[in-house]
């Protein structure tokens, strides 16, 4: 599926911000077997005094921009054309959950794709407590890792209520789980915490959802802004699988990947340091239009 993607984020500062520096992880990259980026461009108004593009540890595109002059309002625009590839036919090649620990210990590697980055607690996904218990309750003897991931994702979707007003970007996963509500970020952190708690390496994926559903299909939750879902390591044979707990389905042709990380902190779309006063306001608008979809015409 080929998409045209646009994202616009605007900020306004009550007091002009001086010497502001921002690190952005907004742009998708080509990922073998998953997506091909045909073109991408990120623009900032006003134009930054400095701008550098680099790749972070997990292979995400990272852009650093600096404004030395006072900035009162800032507008970031991303446009990209991305081809999302359909996942290969879903044969369950994942390891049996019971033999996953052994597969993990055989993966003696600290490279980008190693499961070892995704086992220990990270700042926003610390396994233990109620979430681990919840995850354990979903397991049945003889399950494969893929089955376990889907069972937990499905169960979470069943008990959690999607509520864009209930949580903020800084709500801890424990609290969102306790209150059974939140947005894609909360759903994802909770699921990651659940999976790590039962020994499945799990990470955070940021990205976009197609905003216009195919004819006759409902619009997916979380399409109005950047989206988030979960990836889990399911053994050496199959590697990483992706699951969207907010929509209770595997991530597929509707999901465009921007960043991989241990949790939100590794892939925060815009992280800024501002030397100024007063609160900042921001607005976000996303459009993900399928080009080869007749309904989009």
């Amino acid at each position: 599926m080929l998409y045209d993607l646009t994202l616009a984020i605007s900020y306004s500062y009550p007091v002009p911000s001086v010497n502001s520096r921002t690190v952005m992880r907004l742009t998708p990259s080509s990922i073998e077997g998953r997506q091909v980026v045909r073109s991408r461009m990120i623009r900032a108004e006003p134009a930054p005094s400095e701008k550098r593009d680099t790749m972070d540890f997990f292979g995400n595109a990272m852009t650093t921009a600096v404004w030395t002059e006072p900035v009162e309002a800032l507008r970031l625009t991303l446009t990209a054309r991305v081809e999302r590839l359909a996942p290969a036919q879903e044969l369950d090649l994942s390891a049996p959950l019971a033999s996953l620990p052994q597969e993990i210990s055989l993966a003696q590697d600290i490279g980008t794709q190693s499961p070892h980055h995704f086992i220990a607690a990270s700042r926003r996904a610390k396994p233990g407590g109620a979430m681990t218990e919840f995850a354990r309750d979903q397991l049945r003897p003889g399950m494969s890792t893929l089955e376990a991931v889907q069972a937990i994702g499905h169960a979470l979707h069943g008990i959690m209520r999607f509520d864009p007003d209930a949580t903020t970007v800084n709500t801890p996963a424990e609290e969102a789980f306790d209150k059974r509500h939140g947005v894609c970020q909360d759903f994802s952190h909770i699921m990651i915490t659940c999976l790590r708690g039962i020994g499945i390496p799990a990470g955070y994926v940021s990205g976009f959802l197609r905003t216009r559903p195919p004819p006759g299909k409902p619009r997916l939750e979380g399409a109005d802004a950047m989206h988030a879902w979960v990836r889990a390591w399911a053994g050496a044979e199959i590697g990483w699988i992706e699951f969207d707990p907010t929509n209770d389905r595997p991530a597929g042709v509707d999901h465009i990947i921007v960043g991989y990380g241990r949790d939100y902190d590794d892939v925060a779309p815009v992280r800024g340091a501002l030397r100024g006063f007063g609160a900042q306001e921001s607005r976000q608008a996303v459009d993900v239009v399928p080009l080869d979809d007749p309904a989009a015409g």
Binding site: N19, R21, E50, F57, T64, D109, I110, I119, A120, A273
Partner: protein, 805 residues
């Protein structure tokens, strides 16, 4: 019973000195013979009378108190400071033994650097099975943004420390590698200063290695790393977390000693990929940071997003190769306890030979065989978190000691190991050597054997690793010579390396063969300037408050009624300044003193220890008075005491401080605050409507009573008072005098003029000076004084905008 040298055996101060069987001792060898390296010291020490010893120890303690060396734990409350726990008897090691230690540690330091190069580079050690992936990938000290980044200068480690101890067989071993930002070298210097005052005769001998050469080498190594930018040398800096850190004293001390500016995250910004110091003259390029903060805090944008003390963009400067870090960000991973389980094997893999200086035996419980071993030998193990970075004898380092849970939980250790194995390490409960420590007794005192470890410091120089020839020894509080005994706290001691041959003497004060250099002016960080400016203002504000409160209580004591017009007027004037006369030592005064001390604390590297101690003393005295002082005469006397103390501080600072930009900001703060106070005083007390006695009160509070008598020889009148306190350019308590002062200071600041014309700050000051220069007393109305206050507000604002941001 061991044999003793007959000369010493009978001395009562040594009679009780009995090293435990099987425990090596620094003073006596296994046969009970005094080690030759200690002989000159012991001979001299035993020749001292008990009174002599007490007096000498006091001399050392006095030095430490005067130098302001205290123990402090995360608190700004001065009452939380404890006396520095110096064990006055040094640890003495022989020169050739020391060389062997350094040789082993240099080899170890190179190995550690090679391990880092692999962990942040190809990752072969993990891929080849020499290090478990989870100890790296699951380790918060392993910083992913550093992967693939070549550190500027090519090396990760530049300044490290090793905690070492002596085994029962007499050889040395490492208890922990300190690779993040080891502290202690500054304290070692202070221990040396104090101990050399206790034993000047022994110390002045030519055989003891001095410490200064090490620091000189390290300073040039740091400056070498800084490199150049557009043809000019980049600066070096020391990055501190700030006054709340318990080693902050050491940071200020080292910064002063080395002559390298002490910076906080706010002092820096990153421009064009280069780290810059914000100075009063604008940003200046920085090439190297000796960081005393943990790496994660260095950059909130790319490292720990919760950091409040970092600088956004620092990681970028590092990635682009424009900033060297001592040590490289991410070096802290080698402090992880579990690493010690793998370092010995890695040494054999990388260098094909075993380490000369081994480390404490350590087993990572993530592997079955090791876990079983730890489980079976739990009785002689310390078991604790695998990823912890503290030393085996730090408080709470171990969860299980000698086969028992520290929280006394009664559960099977084996089960716990099976469940949480990968998160745990076992370390041998090692035995350390003992060294003499002085214990006072009724009969005067005696030497007793106490366990010790030594922290050894190493710096990378052009000629390889250079070691501080001495160290920072920790001495256990009790006789128990296991590392566990060290957990219960104790003392610290100087370490002397005594050479068989005389050693060349060097000092940082007069380094031989080093070019005389004079630091260029104008590198004052804006934040330091800001703190100096506010220090000047707060101190003056305190002084004003003290004079006002004294005047109030003097009048109260002279049986004036509280509801008399003058006291009512004064009370309302005080009230307008936040001072409640019902409190004898008003809370707002204590707050101002605390604020002054807060500013001073952030720039302790910039003014004298005496000045710092004077402020400390002022604060302590003022706090004490809140309990004791009573209204009236007593309160007036108390304010007199505080006034003498605070003017003592001002005197110390203004008499002794170098006339640098820093001094100018401090003085500008004072001049501005004083002018403002005079203007408000004149406005309130020269009002024709003001009650009788107001004019005398103004003269008194402005500390100009004697001058008034001498100059006018008549009673106060509005004209004489305005003349003296507003337009007399010889009275330091006059508006004109202080405005002229301010003008002079502003003229000497950078960019005071632009293309020959006065810049905004000066342009605002000059007309005020002129106004008061040409005025006659009768020209000056209450409105004129209020106008000055408005002008001062603008001046402060301009000063801040121009230099302090």
């Amino acid at each position: 019973m061991q044999q003793r040298n007959p000369n010493h055996a009978e001395d009562p101060r040594l009679r009780a000195y009995r090293p435990a069987p099987g425990v090596p001792d620094e003073l006596f060898d296994a046969e009970g013979r005094l080690r030759p390296v200690w002989k000159p010291f012991i001979d001299q020490f035993l020749g001292l009378s008990p009174d002599d010893i007490a007096a000498r120890f006091e001399r050392g303690d006095q030095y430490l108190r005067e130098a302001g060396v205290y123990f402090r734990r995360y608190s700004s409350d001065p009452t939380q400071e404890r006396e520095w726990p110096l064990s006055h008897v040094p640890v003495i090691l022989g020169g050739s033994e020391w060389e062997t230690i350094c040789e082993g540690l240099a080899e170890r330091a190179d190995l550690l650097d090679a391990i880092l190069a692999d962990l942040y580079g190809p990752g072969r050690l993990v891929a080849d099975g020499h290090l478990p992936a989870e100890l790296v990938a699951g380790n918060p000290q392993w910083l992913r943004p550093m992967v693939g980044v070549e550190p500027r200068g090519g090396h990760y480690l530049h300044y490290i420390a090793f905690e070492i101890g002596r085994s029962p067989d007499g050889s040395w071993f490492v208890l922990g590698d300190r690779t993040q930002a080891p502290s202690g070298a500054g304290f070692a210097l202070e221990n040396r200063m104090a101990t050399s005052r206790v034993f000047p005769e022994v110390f002045s001998g030519e055989h003891i290695h001095r410490l200064a050469g090490f620091f000189r080498d390290f300073r040039s190594a740091i400056e070498g790393l800084a490199g150049r930018h557009n043809g000019l040398p980049r600066r070096a800096g020391i990055l501190t977390p700030g006054p709340a850190n318990d080693a902050y004293y050491e940071h200020t001390y080292i910064a002063r000693y080395l002559g390298i500016p002490l910076l906080e995250g706010e002092d820096l910004l990153v421009q064009d990929g280069t780290a810059m110091i914000r100075t009063i003259e604008g940003p200046q390029p920085l090439g190297v940071l000796w960081r005393r903060i943990d790496a994660g805090f260095a950059d909130p944008l790319e490292l720990d997003p919760g950091s409040q003390i970092g600088t956004p963009g620092l990681m970028e400067a590092v990635r682009l190769g424009n900033l060297a870090m001592v040590n490289a960000l991410g070096s802290g991973i080698l402090e992880t306890r579990a690493m010690l389980a793998f370092v010995p094997r890695i040494a054999e893999v990388l260098t094909s030979k075993p380490l000369k200086l081994p480390n404490i035996a350590t087993w990572w419980c993530g592997a079955q065989a090791e876990r079983d071993y730890v489980s079976e030998n739990a009785r002689r193990m310390m078991i604790g978190p695998a990823l912890a970075v503290d030393l085996p004898f730090d408080a709470n380092a171990a969860t299980v000691l000698g086969g028992k849970f520290r929280d006394n939980a009664d559960r099977p250790i084996a089960e716990w190991l099976d469940r949480e194995g990968p998160e745990l390490v076992g370390q041998e409960a090692v035995t350390l050597s003992t060294t003499p420590s002085w214990s006072p007794t009724e009969a005067g005192g005696t030497l007793r054997p106490r366990p010790m470890t030594v922290r050894v410091f190493a710096a990378r120089t052009r000629h390889g690793w250079s070691f501080m020839p001495g160290g920072y020894a920790r001495i256990g509080a009790e006789a128990d010579a296991t590392a566990l005994g060290m957990q219960r706290g104790g003392m610290v001691a100087d370490v002397w390396i005594v050479s068989e041959r005389p050693v060349p003497q060097v000092s940082l004060v007069a380094p031989p063969k080093v070019e005389f250099r004079r630091e260029a002016q104008g590198t004052l960080p804006a934040r330091a300037a800001d703190n100096l400016y506010w220090l000047g203002r707060y101190v003056e504000r305190c002084e004003d408050a003290m004079r006002l409160i004294r005047a109030y209580h003097l009048r109260l004591a002279a049986s004036e009624r509280r509801d008399g017009p003058l006291l009512v007027q004064l009370e309302s004037f005080l009230d307008g300044r936040g001072i409640n006369v019902d409190e004898v030592v008003p809370a707002v005064l204590l707050d101002r003193i605390a604020a002054a001390r807060g500013c001073a604390a952030k720039i302790r590297d910039r003014f004298s220890t005496d000045g710092w101690l004077a402020l400390y003393d002022l604060q302590k005295t003022a706090r004490g008075m809140t309990e004791t002082a009573r209204p009236g005469d007593d309160a007036a006397r108390a304010m007199g005491v505080l006034l003498r103390k605070i003017t003592g501080f001002s005197g110390l600072v203004h008499e002794n401080m170098y006339r640098s930009s820093g001094w100018r900001f401090l003085s500008a703060g004072r001049a501005l605050e004083r002018t403002d106070f005079l203007a408000s005083l004149l406005s309130a007390f020269t009002d024709p409507e003001a009650p009788y006695g107001s004019l005398d009160l103004a003269v008194e509070v402005a500390d100009s009573v004697i001058t008034h008598q001498r100059r006018y020889r008549i009673e106060t009148s509005r004209d004489t008072v305005v003349d003296l306190l507003a337009i007399d350019d010889h009275n330091p308590r006059a508006i004109l005098f202080q405005m002229n002062e301010l003008r002079g200071l502003a003229q000497a600041l950078p960019q005071a003029r632009v293309d020959g014309s006065p810049a905004a700050l000066l342009r605002t000051i000059l007309p005020v000076c002129t106004r008061f220069e040409v005025a006659a007393p009768s020209d000056l109305t209450l409105a004129s004084f209020e106008e000055v206050r408005d002008d001062l507000y603008k001046i402060s604002d301009l000063l801040t905008q121009t230099y302090l941001r």
